[in-house]
């Protein structure tokens, strides 16, 4: 049988995540074992959301026994991109027995941290703590900023562990961009997605589409599990990044929502089976969850506007 070729070329930053989802859809839809050829020769750059999604897709397909033994990865022609991809253990995920001609030397590159996987609440909290420590070591983030990132990440990993309804867990990646005074954190799961999760709460109105579901999910006190949860984690995370001048991006099904430096929710032409949350944090601006809470002082009722 011919291998299923997934060919990634050029750049895959936030604006091209739709394209990546479209390219990965044959893997999402695999029903039987298939040899994969992940062709990254032309890959010139990849952002954290795309990287998290790519790794999650390949790991999940491997977990499900859908990746044939002869599957392989063609590394990027660009040496720095190839090194980056290798550090993320992408090759090992697809082809654990792949022999390299030259021994790969792992270097502690500035701003880099390998992908982290988590399966439950405790692991998610641990990953959040680890990412926060890593970012403080590499950025000018003070203790309050570090704690705020850690707490926001805990909210998102809690959502994965509790709402995504997937045995495959979640994946977190982060990267510091020194020249942009910013860092990105992406957390992805390939679970049921936000619309299906919210539908489990019969007290909520049924969203017309995925965009309406994302808007609902970003509204305070909206949760699929009101007995356990308060429905404030995503809202506070979005406000935190808004106050920092960064951005929170939430993508699920056929929709994406941007909050913070942009405020837009739109439908997409491709469907992500699961949820992808991305935090763009400015390391040159204050980041303080207390500032978010102080906005609740005068604006009670339904809470402050995002």
């Amino acid at each position: 049988m011919e291998p299923l070729v997934i060919k990634l070329s050029s750049h895959y930053y936030e604006s091209r995540v739709d394209r990546l989802i479209r390219q990965l859809t044959p893997i999402f839809e695999l029903q039987e074992r298939q040899t994969l050829h992940i062709d990254l020769k032309g890959l010139a750059g990849i952002g954290q959301p795309a990287l998290a999604l790519l790794i999650a897709t390949l790991v999940q397909a491997t977990d499900r026994g859908l990746v044939g033994e002869k599957s392989f990865v063609s590394l990027p022609d660009s040496p720095p991109v190839a090194r980056y991809v290798e550090r993320m253990n992408l090759v090992k995920i697809v082809s654990p027995t792949l022999e390299r001609e030259e021994a790969f030397v792992r270097r502690d590159a500035e701003g880099f941290m390998p992908c982290r996987r988590f399966h439950d609440l405790a692991e998610g909290i641990s990953v959040g703590r680890e990412l926060a420590v890593h970012l403080q070591e590499r950025c000018n983030v003070d203790d309050v900023g570090k704690a705020s990132v850690q707490l926001a990440l805990g909210e998102i990993t809690d959502n994965v562990a509790y709402h995504a309804d997937t045995a495959h867990g979640g994946f977190a990646v982060c990267q510091h961009y020194k020249n942009r005074q910013a860092f990105d954190i992406a957390i992805v799961d390939l679970g049921v997605g936000i619309m299906e999760s919210l539908a489990r709460n019969p007290m909520l109105p049924t969203p017309a589409d995925d965009a309406a579901a994302l808007k609902l999910a970003l509204t305070p006190r909206i949760t699929s599990t009101p007995t356990r949860n308060a429905g404030l984690g995503l809202f506070v995370t979005a406000m935190l990044l808004q106050g920092n001048g960064g951005r929170f991006t939430l993508r699920s099904g056929n929709a994406v929502a941007y909050r913070g430096s942009e405020n837009e929710t739109r439908l997409t032409t491709v469907a992500l089976p699961g949820t992808l949350a991305t935090m763009r944090v400015r390391s040159d601006r204050p980041l303080n969850i207390e500032t978010v809470y102080s906005r609740f002082r005068k604006e009670l009722g339904d809470g402050p506007d995002l």
């Binding site: 609440l121 805990g154 949860n229 009670l300």
Partner: protein
């Protein structure tokens, strides 16, 4: 005869660090406070130097029985005005 009342001081950040997150941790702390109050002990919970996640606030304060939360035996100290407002908002959401 005057009654003596045991006083318990809890500083969550001493054992958990300055970032207080995670529902299981908050639930354990809530149970500890509720049990102490039901025994008739006074409890001082000092949050000085700590930040809390929304889930932690919900699990600790909003899920705490109103009887315990409003008891004169419990004192929450070290909460900023902002966090106090958020706690009120979260508690209101469950009442």
């Amino acid at each position: 005869m005057a009654q003596t009342c045991e006083m318990q001081t809890i500083r969550p950040s001493d054992t958990l660090g300055p970032a207080l997150g995670g529902r299981p941790v908050a639930a354990r702390l809530r149970t500890q406070i509720e049990q102490a109050v039901r025994r008739g002990s006074r409890v001082l919970v000092d949050f000085d130097g700590a930040l809390m996640s929304p889930s932690f606030v919900d699990e600790l304060f909003a899920k705490m029985s109103a009887e315990v939360r409003n008891s004169e035996l419990v004192e929450f100290r070290g909460l900023s005005e902002g966090t106090q407002a958020f706690v009120r908002f979260t508690v209101d959401g469950r009442e």
